[in-house]
Symmetry: D2
Subunit: 483 residues, 4 copies
């Protein structure tokens, strides 16, 4: 069927009839009409429509090597630097629609699956590994433009370093049985963003150093598979008005706990299982990190440009560009933006073919960006708050402007270069991005996108080649260097 | 009538019939039943009830020198160090009720009015000043336990340093006429916290260096004075459930724009007007800063203790106390708390009688605390977020625990030392304090409590006596010092 | 003999004939004439002379309970809050002489020995402990006003967490034998400040969690004991001119490695040995931390006042007080100073008698100061550098001012309010404190005074009582609290 | 004569007989033998020898378009991206010799002069401007491989914003007269690095917004011109031993005050004068910033690699790589290095031909790097100090290792993977870079390389194009945009 449009996405989603719980109730009726999901589903539909937008269609799709149909470019396996740039452009188009606030626009997980498929040979001849299943599933997903959620965090019961789960019933999702049909999974995973709002649930693990064999697996199953429940958190939609809640009304993605109640995963959908070494090594050796981080950095650059734009609009609105400390704060955002762009450019320029013939962006600049952004993004939100100051608080609603009080608002809330209504819109946008519950989730999300910041720093240090620099200093001091 | 109780407060408030606009509608009916105000009004009523709580009544009230009745201790004019300590204890009692989240518990503005009254002689024999009015009004307020809102920010139209308002109609509130009855005020002021929910509106200006004569005034009038309108911002109450929204459902104070539409302020309520020098000097020379900052620091210490408690509960819940970086973050909170306590203690220890016979806490430690807290409070909220990590996001609602999904939640959300329900309560509290729209307003509020942080730093430098230190160094170098 | 004067100190020191190695040579002749030590020894002599200065003699000494002679107040065992204040004043007098730059003015180690002696009962009836020796030695030291060095760091061969020394010959100082005369110690300790320039070497260990039994000891021996060698680092004296090097020429204290070459420590000088538990617990349970930290904080406040004075002089000299960012930087120093003072005041106010009848300042404010100062001191040195900017670099020497080039210097280096010569003096002082090798050692010294900053933070967290705060929050949420 | 070698440089320099004052004395005899300059002059000679090193000669020189001789590549006017890369390689070769510690290796000022010459057309037909002089002088300098000092700071008498010099005699260097021979300059300039140790003194002004006409000039004259005096600061050479002082003994560049005592600058050497607008605009409009910042960033990357190497060597030496906080600190250095490299790469990739046909690297990444490095370099030196901890202090001298104490040192100072001697060498290098007076000058130098950091931030904000980002946000909100 090739690249879908918005209507295809909605129709298919409504048919799935996934089991989703929200605020103590099981959701009935079409998901696309449910208030907590409606905005997001419309936004995702708009993204899929962009695949058919005559102006950018060629940048959003490519020709399937199998079917000859136009298919979504987020499924493209890059073989040249030009492919990387095409992928980047596609992500830019999608990211711009939500100003980078949709962390799980379809390209993210499509890219993840593509990265796995591009490393299929790694799984060959390894115990309990099914590279052909992975390859076939990738092609199936690509040809049908499937959408995904993913969940990678185990329940946060006990975070001490020496905790070993030891309960009667599994808490973290585990394989509890296998038979000729497949594996049976029981337990939970946390924080599936858009959980229940996608065709499929992709399950695998990253970034843990010690796996129990029974937690070491990777598979994908339809969201409506028997035994899967999605339990939603409280919504962060502030309200339906896009004047009052310009972001949350449209881009709140919802997170959910995924419960696996003895879910049967058929063998054809199992990529590997009961192989702790592969579960640890595959995400590291595959192109997962270079491909996924390339998508993420691209989106984060769009978001940073959005922040720079908001900040400048705030400044213009109340005419504070002349203050030195304002200029300094703005220079921080500019420095962040230019740095991220330079790192992305370096990663693309120095991309190299991997052993399986796919073009990987250089990993170190991407890793560096992955260390920087979780620190600068919260700072940017703070800068926005500091620019807006008390003006971030006293913001009346859309309805106030449509009441007899409007005249007062027009006088007392106008800006130096903006009408009161425009000024309130601008400040509400700034507020929604940085101070609403939608906004603070964004901050927490960017802060932890690739996991614990301390571990990210350690990883960077451990992997970064340092020998040549040690050699230079040793030579400078005429030290003897062994071996 | 002396110290009121909760019922007195509610009854009086409902009778006022203030003109309050919320979400495009003028509020009708009793304020105490209005959803956006109900929680706050109940909380304030509970504070007033504490004045009659047999266990602490003696610490919350004192005997009126006029009427012999028990009156609220926040109106006590301190003449001894013991009085300061009594005032501090009273504030602690009130602050503990809301864990320091009610920035405008009645003691704040009662203290402000008390500080002004304690400096009445400053106004004697100055042009357009009415010290007797101020003294009389203070006594009236004290004996009737009036409640106040206050508003000190002019509309943020244009914040450039060289802006001079030049519009046909006043934007910032101004005196537009006077006659034998009083002065007429037209224009607006921003950010009256609890605007419309108090007996009176206290209006004066602080921290501005250049006043236009027509903006230089101080007065107090009843909230239901003809021509006063309060225009509310959007509410930050997340919902009525105190499980889901343990803070916002009870302590959201609302902020509003106060519009003065040719409001007549009778002469008896005018403290001064058209005297720019007095308007600038009175807040500086009076005991306003020492008294108000003493109250604020006391409340902020209660809040910091609350934060320390939440942080420790989070840590216990998921058992992360063994991590070095967790210990470091906790030490930051402890350092903040001990520092604030030490500064308060120093301010009280070194209190001195002022020229008018009232006991002022030492100003410098209070100023230092006023410079520190706007920086450490946002950091504390960040620490809470870092401790909670992804656990801050995936939080289901109270209703979820009262549905058939409860069993899953009980398993998958339990903590190391807590049930799932307790854990969700704890994390929701942490979230409501730091990530809800209620919480981010708290952050912005603490950040700007005494105004622009950069100006606070400049003030501290300019006022702090440095000569002795320069002398020590000059002597060390045997430099000649002039005269 | 009671409190000594400068001459007593020099005479006694020169007689010792300690084995000190500097720059590859064993020092011969009187130490007080040796260029690398001369300045320091004169400064220390000046400190001892202050004990006999008629104006402050009463604040520097007290009457020996044994001999009736005037003895040094740094040996006073405090039994009242007034005693603490006397101790603080004594430290202030000594600290002011060097502006707080002599980290090892005699009061520091005298205080340490006094703290140990004040906790002698702890050692009673414990294996391999000799409380009577400690008591007797303290009295001997007190009555003779002995001076001390101390060394607490083992050689930094391998700092990994799992390193266990396993060499043929001991590297870290160890007990290698015992006989009826005493214990034999072999190995080295690092960083004995003023090593070789004091009467005695005090040896004990702090802050290590796992002791080998053979490293668990405490004793004191004369610096000229057979087998002790002091190996000096390179000097940080910039030159003899007090114009060019106002601090290093007078206060550079020298650090040395202490080598124990089978040194016999007679039993009478052994306080404990081969008891790892006591070695770990005694420094914690004794009044070591409260007494020592009280002395240190007092000195650091003097140093901070010195920094504030220098900073203000720089500002006056080049007339930059009007810049907002300058004011902000100065407010940082003021905030640091007031905070340290408030913490000291709180520690004294809340002092309590310990189980052995001695008055201990409250430990938490001191611990907090001990966490703060290592962070703010380096920042203060940075602020000095930022205030001075390029002016910190282009500084000619004293001799330049006594040459025909003087006229040019007078024109081109003058300040807004100072002559060229004064300006160069002021900048040189700023430079010597923050940018000379003397100054950078000061920074490193303050940074590590009580050891690894990360461990200090952990200690504070672990010891600080948090239960009451957890209880408050639990009550607020109506959580059940166990036990 | 083309590219010179070390001997050429020394011979020519010694012949000049410049008037240099050091420590109150006028220097007589060959400069290359003078202790305060000897190390530097040898190092510079070594740099010039690299121009003739057979292995890299082709990367260090190019063929003169005029003479056909090999000339120094730092004089190459880039016309292609390849030229930029050639220039970068040349700078890398020179920077590596001193590990980036020679801020004024010859390429810096050669590049500056080249940038001016590449913008000669800007001066055409402007009042008091002599573009032909500049072009001719550039060619003369290039063909003779002249070396330069430069001085851009006026005496720091009074730094307040409103100071206007008003003294009888000029303090800041000014034009005091003109005649048919040239202009006469009187007054001083500060901080000429290597002042007196180069062929020429290049004088112009940057980064000041208001010029007096009489301070608005640009010229170059031989260092031995009549009336020029160089007054040196105190030396930062710690000693002659390259073991003890591996950097300062070789790379201390000296700074001096340049006094112009009615110096005649012949017309042929004047590039412009008495034209405040040109003096302000030429450095901004010319390729000065892109070319100079390209050289500087290249050198700073070499220095950062050096720092990374030293840090890693310290870590290996005492085996602390396993600590999380060490890994985090190292990740900071790596992040800095990768960021700087990415910015340099972006600047080169996006280079464009300017209106006069020369290839300018993109300015924004260079400006961003120029904002970052002054902040991260001091942090890197702090990290080095934190890694070395107390080990940075207790460092004996080279001679100690050649004495009978060597055996003790070998035991007690050895590292986990290094001999005691190697360990001391490594720590001394770390110390010399970050804690010696040579090292702290380096820190101050990098901090202020392009001037006041606050102004650098303002500049970046003002020049950075922000309109497109404002437009994106405005469109998102459907705001009307004027124009």
């Amino acid at each position: 069927m090739g690249a879908i449009n918005g209507n295809d996405y909605i129709t298919r989603l409504n048919l799935l009839n996934n089991e989703i719980w929200y605020d103590g109730e099981k959701i009935e009726g079409p998901l696309s009409e449910y208030p907590a999901f409606k905005g997001l589903i419309q936004s995702k539909a708009a993204l899929y429509d962009l695949q058919h937008d005559p102006e950018i269609k060629d940048e959003m799709t490519f020709i399937s090597p199998v079917s000859g149909e136009m298919i979504g470019l987020s499924y493209l396996q890059p073989k040249t630097k030009e492919d990387l740039i095409r992928r980047r452009k596609m992500t830019e188009h999608w990211a711009k629609y939500s100003m980078g606030t949709m962390g799980r626009s379809p390209d993210y997980l499509n890219t993840v699956l593509t990265s796995f498929a591009s490393s299929v040979p790694f799984l060959k001849n390894k115990e309990n590994c099914f590279p052909n299943n992975l390859q076939a599933f990738y092609e199936f997903a690509r040809e049908n433009d499937l959408s995904f959620t993913h969940t990678f965090i185990s329940p946060q019961v006990n975070r001490s370093q020496i905790y070993i789960e030891n309960t009667d019933e599994p808490i973290a999702a585990k394989i509890v049985a296998t038979n000729e049909e497949g594996i049976f999974v029981k337990g939970a995973r946390l924080l599936a963003t858009q959980g229940g709002l996608t065709d499929e649930v992709l399950v695998f693990s990253v970034g843990k150093f010690l796996f129990n064999e029974d937690e070491a697996f990777a598979f994908s199953i339809p969201s409506n598979t028997k035994g899967i429940k999605f339990i939603c958190r409280d919504t962060f939609i502030g309200g339906q008005s896009s004047f009052d809640h310009p972001l949350s009304s449209r881009f709140e993605e919802m997170d959910s706990i995924v419960v696996f109640d003895n879910v049967l995963v058929p063998w054809s959908r199992v990529f590997y299982y009961n192989n702790a070494e592969v579960a640890e090594e595959f995400p590291i050796q595959s192109s997962f990190h270079p491909f996924a981080k390339h998508q993420v950095l691209t989106r984060q650059i769009v978001k940073t440009e959005f922040i720079l734009g908001i900040a400048e609009l705030l400044i213009e609105t109340i005419n504070i560009s002349g203050y030195q400390h304002i200029q300094e704060k703005m220079s921080e955002i500019i420095i962040g933006l230019e740095t991220m762009k330079a790192l992305l450019e370096k990663a693309e320029n120095n991309a190299e073919l991997d052993e399986w013939g796919f073009m990987r962006p250089e990993i170190f600049p991407l890793q560096v960006a992955g260390n920087i952004f979780p620190k600068i993004y919260p700072r940017f939100t703070e800068i926005i708050q500091l620019l807006g100051a008390s003006g971030m608080i006293a913001l009346p609603t859309e309805k106030s402007f449509h009441s007899s009080i409007r005249k007062d608002l027009n006088s007392y809330l106008k800006g130096a270069t903006k009408t009161a209504e425009e000024r309130v819109q601008i400040f509400r946008l700034a507020w929604d991005l940085t101070m609403s519950s939608f906004g603070t989730r964004q901050t927490q999300y960017e802060r932890y996108f690739f996991g614990d910041p301390i571990r990210l720093a350690s990883d960077l240090y451990k992997k970064y080649p340092r020998d040549e620099f040690v050699k230079v200093v040793s030579d400078f001091l005429h030290l003897k260097r062994e071996g």
